[in-house]
């Protein structure tokens, strides 16, 4: 238990120190040291847990309990006041209103019903917690290290602007602390506290640059997440008043005895859906792109949105063919399909990544909604692979942006000539997102099979069409990048050492995650599913058999070995490309119809007419709203 407290308090301490440090070198030392310690502590937690097994933690000392409760209440009130004031200041009255409703509601509950309920075990460590802790502790801290180099460039590009990096790094580490708290909470009230902290951290991170667009988008994120938070608060009240418990483990246990849990499940899933940027709430995550790239990487891979899916996956055993399951499956499925479609129409690399995140989270959410162990396996594996791969891709794009001056995929052609190492890492990341035999595809395979078994035909079709489109948008990006262009200068030397460290470490993580997945599936994920789904009729039958897993691992080894052996090794004569006889021999220009020199310019395909972003969002948001409306009207109908 000491490690849990350390994981929450140490990043908090580091955050406070970073708020005070103004000097570049000192900040570097603190960030790197803190990252190493946090990473080591999360590994330590995993090792301890592996030997001691699942545990709920009871805090014996009444005094500590009291202090924690008071501190949380005090902080909650302060934050509510801050949000309220900021909302008034920026004329975002909805944010103020939500803060003014939610916090008093929670305070009233905690002072009345909440006080009478004894929470035996406020903390929990199970395998899912361990997985999340490792993701936050390793991927999250690598992003912080990367941010050191990135923010130097950022400051240089925005010269004249006041240096607000202490505030930035404070927020990053506070975010990590809140995430550790969130994934180890068993007490819903504690989890809610950390949940709201992550909401506020992302609010400040998105609005970091203080441009009108950033402020606007940060408030959109805040409002949507506060709305989700309201769902969370209501769920706590329902749990407290109807079931006399505030512990998630208790709720799960009661459901296994056949007690109906529809209302809290729907409300908590609603909170998760908002946080995981599912339609109709996906616009906040797209808006978050205005922030510096490390923020996007953090929000998309290891924190924020993963908190949303974490909660939904935790509730997965209570879902399936019931109201909560219906809502989660359909919202996830619609989001996966429409966000994949929308990604096709984007040429801004960060927006492609953002839509791909929304889509993959949709798939995770849909799998959790299916509510079978096989589907939950796919969801957990997706969380792992997505975290490592997506953070790598975001950071690659960030580095590319600072060096080629654009985040547009159209400007990335010939990246292999200009920044060979970065291009190789980015290629690895993109391939890992959609090609067999890499992890994401393995999870998609499992997801597809689990969804087919569930018998939800619309969801089956969503997954089928969504996956087909996924291939198209990654494929064309990959192609653009691998194009070999003559006469490009290598500009790779300007990249900061911290960025290389983080990028190479993340690539190594992607490779390790893909090569060892049968092992941790067997040792960590399956044992979790066996305890989480004790009533599963067919036991934990995995969609991807262990034979197939090892076949995939061999294929990965092959796909890594092949380039090492053959890539770029040719003794053939190099000749110019075919340009219908009009090429000028440099592969870059040709003789036009008026006998003038023309540059070759090749552009990708965005299919605006089919997959226009606005249209896809409109359809997706409407459909998801209909699902939510049906769910909540049935819920109210059932209660009245």
């Amino acid at each position: 238990m000491a490690v849990i407290f350390f994981l929450i308090l140490f990043p908090l301490a580091a955050a406070l120190i970073l708020l005070a440090v103004k000097n570049d070198t000192a900040r570097g030392v603190v960030v790197i040291a803190a990252s190493v310690v946090i990473g080591a502590a999360s590994v330590l937690l995993a090792v301890q847990h592996y030997f001691s097994g699942d545990a709920l933690y009871h805090i014996a000392d009444e005094f500590i309990n009291e202090i924690v409760e008071y501190a949380m209440t005090a902080i909650e009130v302060c934050l509510a006041v801050i949000v309220f004031a900021l909302g008034i200041k920026h004329k975002k009255y909805l944010a103020s209103a939500l803060a003014a409703v939610q916090t008093p509601l929670m305070l009233w509950f905690e002072r009345s019903t909440g006080r009478l309920i004894e929470v035996k075990n406020p903390l929990v460590v199970d395998n899912l917690t361990v997985i999340m802790t490792l993701i936050v502790g390793i991927v999250g801290t690598l992003i912080c290290v990367y941010a050191l180099g990135y923010m130097k460039d950022f400051q240089r590009h925005n010269h004249g602007a006041p240096d607000r990096r202490p505030w930035f790094f404070f927020l990053l580490f506070l975010f990590l602390a809140a995430m550790f708290g969130l994934v180890t909470s068993n007490n819903l009230v504690w989890m809610y506290f950390f949940w709201e902290i992550t909401t506020l951290c992302s609010f400040f991170l998105i609005g970091f640059t203080k441009t009108p667009e950033a402020v606007n988008n940060s408030f959109r994120a805040l409002i949507m997440n506060l709305l989700g938070g309201l769902g969370f608060a209501l769920a706590i009240m329902v749990a407290g008043n109807w079931y006399q418990t505030l512990e998630i483990s208790q709720l799960l246990a009661m459901a296994q005895q056949g007690i109906d849990m529809t209302v809290p499940v729907v409300l908590l899933s609603f909170a998760g859906i908002a946080k995981a940027a599912q339609m109709p709430f996906n616009s906040w995550l797209l808006g978050a792109m205005v922030a510096p790239t490390p923020t996007s990487a953090l929000l998309h891979s290891s924190t924020m949105v993963k908190a949303g899916v974490f909660l939904i996956v935790k509730l997965s055993p209570l879902m399936g063919w019931n109201l909560g399951g219906f809502m989660v499956m359909m919202v996830g499925g619609i989001t996966f399909l429409m966000a994949s479609f929308a990604a096709v129409s984007q040429s801004n690399a960060k927006r492609v990544l953002a839509y791909s995140t929304v889509a993959n989270l949709g798939l995770i959410v849909a799998c959790a909604g299916v509510g079978t162990p096989a589907a939950a396996w796919a969801a957990v594996m997706l969380i792992i692979f997505h975290a490592v791969t997506k953070s790598l891709l975001f950071l690659c794009v960030g580095t590319a942006e600072h060096n080629i001056g654009s985040r547009d995929i159209e400007d990335m052609d010939g990246l292999f000539d200009r920044m060979p190492r970065l291009a190789a890492l980015m290629t690895a990341g993109i391939s890992a997102m959609f090609l067999a035999p890499f992890g994401m595809l393995v999870s998609k395979w499992a997801a597809l099979q689990a969804v087919v078994v569930s018998g939800n035909l619309p969801l089956v079709l969503f997954v089928v069409f969504g996956s087909s489109v996924t291939l198209f948008y990654w494929g064309k990006w990959l192609g653009k990048m691998t194009a070999v262009m003559a006469g490009r200068e290598n500009i790779q030397r300007q990249v900061h050492a911290e960025e290389w460290t983080a990028l190479c470490a993340l690539t190594a993580l992607v490779v390790i995650a893909c090569l060892t997945f049968p092992i941790y599936s067997d040792k960590i994920v399956v044992p979790y599913l066996m305890t989480a789904f004790p009533n599963a009729r067919e036991g934990v039958a995995l969609a991807v058999s262990s034979d197939n897993m090892w076949i995939l691992v061999v294929m990965i080894a092959l796909i890594i070995l092949l380039p090492l052996m053959f890539f770029g090794k040719t003794k053939k004569k190099i000749v110019p490309i075919y340009m219908a006889g009009a090429g000028l021999g440099d592969d870059l220009s040709f003789t036009g119809a008026m006998q003038e020199k023309k540059e070759v310019s090749l552009r990708n395909w965005y299919m605006e007419g089919y997959f226009g972003e606005k249209k896809m969002n409109r359809i997706g948001v409407t459909a998801a709203c209909v699902v939510l409306a049906i769910t909540f009207s049935m819920l109210l109908g059932g209660m009245l």
Partner: protein, 296 residues
Amino acid sequence: MNTTAIISVIAYVALAPAAGGLLAGFDRKISARMQGRVGPPLLQPFYDLFKLLEKEPVTVNRVQDFYVLCCLIFMIITGGFFFAGGSLLLVIFTLTTASVFMVVAAYSSNSPYAQIGASRELLQIMAYEPMVLITAIGFFIVYRSFNVADIIAHPAPAVHYLAGIFLGFVFILTIKFRKSPFDLSMSHHAHQELVKGLTTEFSGKTLAMIELSHWYENIFLLGFVFLFFANGTTQWTVIAVLACLLAYFLEIFIDNSYARMKWQIAVNSSWIVALTAGGVNLLVLYFAIFGFGLGV
């Protein structure tokens, strides 16, 4: 893996090029007859292949050959999984990887014709992929397994349950066999706006590898058709082989009776077929299983 599986894989790897080449020879012969020509000798595809191997070794960049080699390797692996009786999903995903290698090879040349061909190839993959996945799902719902070995061992031939999916699959085969009206990314005829599209920048041995991988792919695709009919008995095996030949003849016939269509028609029609023929077939299967408790 049992002995049968090992023998089938070896047979596939060794014999598919011969069978694929012969198929291409018949294709050209029959096409010629449909157009009122005599056509080349039956073994012409092999002569062409050997001629390609003797061409002067040139390339447009250092990396293209690597991607094409990977394409060939993964195409052989794809068919290998299939004939070993492996999972259909694994087969489909590996096939995609092979196709993406070819697309990347074309992109890497940075040639206008090759790149447009490559992006059209991606579009074609996007067009046919849903139907291919639905086909695998259909087999799974009927037999509770994605494994080719389980499907083929079952006494009830799949076509009884998957008639709609079979039609849909034959429809997208036109794209997979690169036949008109859907030969958007490349065609066998170089006299068109795309020159040779995807394969414009490949020459000599590299082009031979592409040709070889197509032969492998075609045989494996006919294996898919075979799967709809086979149940292990001699009678149905004969029917299955006839069905394969008929399907291929149908594709040649379509090839010769249509001009190429716009890409929009390729995407729209493939997706509509996937939704109607495939989707409705799945719906019926689900009803039969969940509604009436029927199953194989």
